[in-house]
Amino acid sequence: MSDSALINRRGGALAQLSDTLWRRPGLLIFLLILPPALWLGIIYLGSLFALLAQSFFSIDEFTGIIQYEFTLKTYAELFRPSNFDIIIRTVVMAAAVTIGAAVIGFPVAYYAARYARGKWKAIFYLGVMMPLWSSYLVKVYSWKLILAKEGILNWLFETLHLGGLLNAYLAIPVIGGNSLSVSATGTFLVFLYVWIPFMILPIQASLERVPHTMIEASGDLGARPAQTFRHVLLPLALPGVIAGSIFTFSLTLGDYIIPQIVGSSRRFIGQAVYAYQGTAGNIPLAAAFAVVPILLMAVYLWVAKRQGAFDAL
């Protein structure tokens, strides 16, 4: 072995650069992180702060011109009954969608994690992945087909001679409406359908980690299946459920397309943001509305972190 290979520096600018990077790992990290940090820092955070800053401006009620002075007036407007209703409605919908997704998603996740083997494991996996990655608009569109007055759901109710039941349900105020496609129930179903894969994957991830000897031990100790579920399985799966609920809750809070296509004329936060920044030209109020989901999610994430939900992501 010749010493010269170790002593002689390799020639060429590229090689010298290479040596420098090897000797100074800090510089390498800096160079690696610079482009993504600049991109996200300037384009994304910059825009986000510009938006937040605008929420502290206000709009002159008579001229409609934005006044660039610091004020909390715009935030106060959020608490006007018409605006506050929008916030409450959105939060209730997000909570309902989250609970619905957990109830329907849990058995799928549990079966996939505990019982599915080999071919069925793959089928279950793709069975959740495919809807997750399918086009969002196509999924919404499919429900427009289903919920339409002449569509399959009404046809099904008529064929089973249950049309009266459906009409009685639609007559209930708040959740009912003229037809399913313009009712809050319709909006709920579409939200549920579109976001449910986001709930199943984290639950499945947390259930995969539950040793099945624990379930057996619980049974051996005399617990009935319901008790095992309540006292063993659910506490262990809870971080996964919370992780999933972060997605379903956040996604429902910010959506403005689903309630626009399927639902009543009562607005959600996303629609309010969209309407205020668009035709109304009231950017400050739109910005203030946009802060609501951010704050709600910040609180939600803080609670979730305390429950250890991030380990299940």
Binding site: Y110, Y125, G127, P131, G151, W155, I261
Partner: protein
């Protein structure tokens, strides 16, 4: 063995969940062939292949598709570069601001899309940037980074440091090491991440409505048709094709990363 048999109730509940997730999409496949063109009548009065020819001859569909493919390709390339750089830095060492960087990458997808959208739009307005092809790309690349990052960071952690050191000991410089050691090790993760980023961008509508001017990507075209239906059968056919097209990259990404500890696509 008793414990390996699922209770009947669980089977039914799991089957119901899967059916709930799949039947609505399958319904679109039926509607693409219906002869009815004024309403969403069920059951379809008859079946025809006519609408495929009609859709094929529509220039607006082709333009929207072309734009979507271009935007998705360029956004994916940007996301691949930025996501890989970020993953390389974060997985390698602990440094000041590391947590902040990983949060920053996830933020565009963790916050509701409407916030990303309206933030970008008001920033473009403030900076007097006219809406164009590039403003769409700017938005898409921003939230695509996280998909590539998630895939790459998991793989980087598994590339053992001794491999890199061995390569350097044998006389390769950093760039050769990257080319011949690191890249082959992370290539499938990058490919999977890239495909998912492509699928994400191809399908994105919420941010795009804020960052596009007059241009129509395919999702924007579909949104228009959903809000103000003009020719329903054409929408049905486009919807079916979109489902089939997104099916392929997801299946490919799954196949590429199957058997590793983190399968691609979980964190959309």
């Amino acid at each position: 063995m008793h414990s390996d048999r699922a209770p009947l109730g669980l089977k039914i509940a799991a089957g119901f969940g899967l059916a709930f997730m799949h039947l609505p999409i399958l319904l679109i496949f039926v509607y693409a062939f219906t002869t009815e063109d004024k309403s969403y009548q069920w059951p379809p009065p008859g079946f025809t292949l006519k609408w495929f020819a009609v859709t094929w001859a529509r220039p607006d569909v082709w333009e929207a598709l072309g734009l979507s493919l271009q935007v998705a390709s360029i956004s994916t390339i940007i996301a691949l570069v930025l996501g890989t750089l970020c993953a390389a830095a974060v997985s390698r060492t602990r440094f000041f601001g590391r947590e902040a960087i990983s949060l920053l990458v996830i933020l565009p997808i963790a916050l509701p899309g409407i916030i990303t959208g309206i933030a970008l739009r008001s920033a473009f307005n403030l900076a007097d940037i006219p809406f164009s092809f590039w403003t769409i790309v700017l938005g898409h690349a921003t939230f695509c980074v996280v998909v590539v990052y998630n895939n790459a960071v998991a793989r980087f952690r598994r590339v053992s440091g001794s491999l890199v050191e061995a390569s350097m000991d044998l006389g390769a410089n950093s760039f050769q090491t990257f080319r011949y050691i690191i890249l082959p090790n992370i290539s499938t993760a990058l490919l999977a991440g890239g495909m998912l980023a492509f699928a994400l961008s191809f399908d994105e509508v919420i941010v795009t409505t804020f960052t596009a001017g007059q241009q129509q990507t395919l999702p924007i075209w579909m949104l228009e048709e959903l809000v103000r239906p003009r020719e329903r059968p054409v929408t049905n056919v486009v919807a079916m094709v979109v489902v089939l097209v997104t099916f392929l990259p997801v299946l490919a990404a799954y196949t590429l990363t199957r058997g590793t500890d983190t399968v691609a696509g979980q964190g959309k």
